[in-house]
Symmetry: C2
Subunit: 332 residues, 2 copies
């Protein structure tokens, strides 16, 4: 009798019985809040993440291209670097990046700490050097004190800088999406249309690559399996790291967490909308032409993956001192 009522009420709210069944064996897992976090490191890393003095110009910070107000991206096809240089590739979101098997589209950095040092010293991005960045920090009394407090050492080095930034980035997970609420048993968290989109997402084969906690980020896959992907971008993908021709156009599968916020899509940022991205993925990766109705269902499902965005007070940066080397925004 009680079961009858339960089934009736499920039908009444429009959720199919199969969807309400235990989602324990789903290919997508609930995202876990950050754990094992060193809060002193996080506070320091948060300041560094927002500090444009880690760039030659004094204008570009980590947050410029991985903007935490905008899904951890810059929402432009390829990023703007020192002196407005056009970057070669789309800035991937920093949100949930701790879950990636490696960092950058081609996985050339093993982890967040290694990644954090890259843009600082890249002439096309922040245009600085690790030595100069450390020289700047060493002349800022507020940083000197905070590094000493966190690391217990008198000298600042780049490993401390990148370790702190990485620790802050580890906190940038986005739990509590409607999809996760559904995974956790809130059966009315998703609409019938969204659930139909999820079923289609699974049955069409999207989950072969977009699975796990981050709905991606855990493998390298070739961009353009069934049909070649046409792009003006010159990035060779994984082959640039391994030197193997077989790895050409193999890119890290991007996370689909918060994908509603991380437009434009693909490594070249060429797809402006989710509908476009779903259509291209279907045709090029799966040999499947989704109907407009199917496409809309999948897009509706994808929008349920937007989680709680990072919430913290805008960091206040310690001021430079009279001896701090000044930024060089316009020098050659």
């Amino acid at each position: 009798m009680r079961l009858q009522i339960l089934v009736a009420s499920i039908v009444a709210v429009g959720i199919s019985a199969s969807a309400a069944a235990a989602p324990a064996d789903e290919p997508i897992q609930v995202i876990k809040p950050a754990a094992n976090i060193n809060l002193g490191l996080v506070d320091l890393g948060k300041k560094l993440y927002f500090d444009p003095r880690l760039s030659k110009s004094g204008f570009i910070s980590c947050n410029s291209c991985h903007n935490l107000s905008m899904g951890g991206t810059d929402n432009i096809p390829t990023s703007i670097g020192d002196k407005w240089q056009q970057g070669p590739i789309n800035s991937p979101t920093v949100l949930n990046s701790s879950l990636n098997l490696a960092q950058f589209w081609d996985g050339r950095a093993a982890d967040l700490k290694e990644q954090a040092g890259g843009p600082i010293a890249n002439p096309g991005e922040m245009g600085f050097s690790h030595t100069l960045a450390v020289q700047v920090l060493e002349t800022i009394p507020g940083y000197v004190r905070e590094f000493r407090q966190v690391f217990g050492k008198d000298k600042i080095d780049i490993d401390q800088v990148t370790l702190a930034i990485a620790e802050f980035e580890k906190t940038l997970v986005t739990p509590n999406s409607r999809f996760d609420q559904w995974l956790l048993g809130k059966t009315d968290a998703l609409s019938e249309n969204e659930l139909a989109g999820y079923t289609l997402f699974k049955e069409s084969g999207c989950v072969a690559c977009h699975n796990g906690e981050a709905v991606g980020g855990n493998s390298f896959q070739k961009m353009g399996i069934v049909e070649p992907y046409k792009t003006k971008a010159t990035a060779g993908g994984r082959a640039d790291v391994t030197g193997k021709d077989a790895d050409r156009f193999n890119f890290k599968v991007p996370t689909l967490r918060n994908v509603e916020l991380t437009y434009p899509y693909f490594h070249d940022g060429a797809a402006n909308t989710l509908a476009e991205a779903v259509d291209i993925m279907g045709r090029l990766q799966l040999g499947k032409k989704f109907t407009d109705a199917e496409n809309a269902k999948i897009v509706a499902f994808l929008k349920t993956l937007t989680g709680d965005q990072p919430s913290f007070a805008l960091p206040i940066l310690p001021p430079s001192s009279d001896t701090t080397p000044r930024p060089q925004p316009f020098s050659k």
Copy 2:
């Protein structure tokens, strides 16, 4: 008897009796927290302030050049605009800017609302137009809802945009500096050295222009009274607004609130340090060559003007929709 004890205790903590006397008649007044604030407008204005979609490139927001992590400035001599154009003048701090008699160095905008529209449409700054900015906002469902909630109208216009930004900026006052604590009767809030600096600041004539709640911002004055100021900057100051030759090189006196954070100094950003700025001001405006010891005392006093910095959660921006015009960072 009680008076004797009071005097004795004042002497004991090393504060001179005159300094501890009621500072009610000081030329600098306690800064007041923002009042008469519309919180709905503030929340909306805060998002707009941080939103780079108000620029052509999608990369530059109000916060890029008036960075609230860095004293409401960009800490570079002159700002970086669309396509890395070099600005003609130093970005003044947005902190306490509601107290200015007018906005911009030459006072060409009557108030914060009028100012807020300037950079959006300036080809050398955000490089956009008011029409295009409104077109972008009208296609973002999260903004459409919030504008409707705040203004009770179905259409967004640029007046609403600049009104909201201005309302947020009105909240950016910085009370509770150590100097204000002293003004409010906390006699040990300043050291003897800092108080000596304040006395020197008053007796040397600095207060003639730097006075009131904002320690400046309430008059236009000629840059280079006793000696001409040499600069490569072409800005004509107030004359650019009035067309009168007598107003040439008349600039709005900048606030000295948070001056420790708002380097480099002057309308051309040519003075890197407070010591340099105090020296130049003494010689050019007052015909006074401060000794190193005097200069250091004044600088020590100036650093007591740093107040509580704005404290709020980093705003999360509503995502663009499929129909939102995309930024044009690299187009001609």
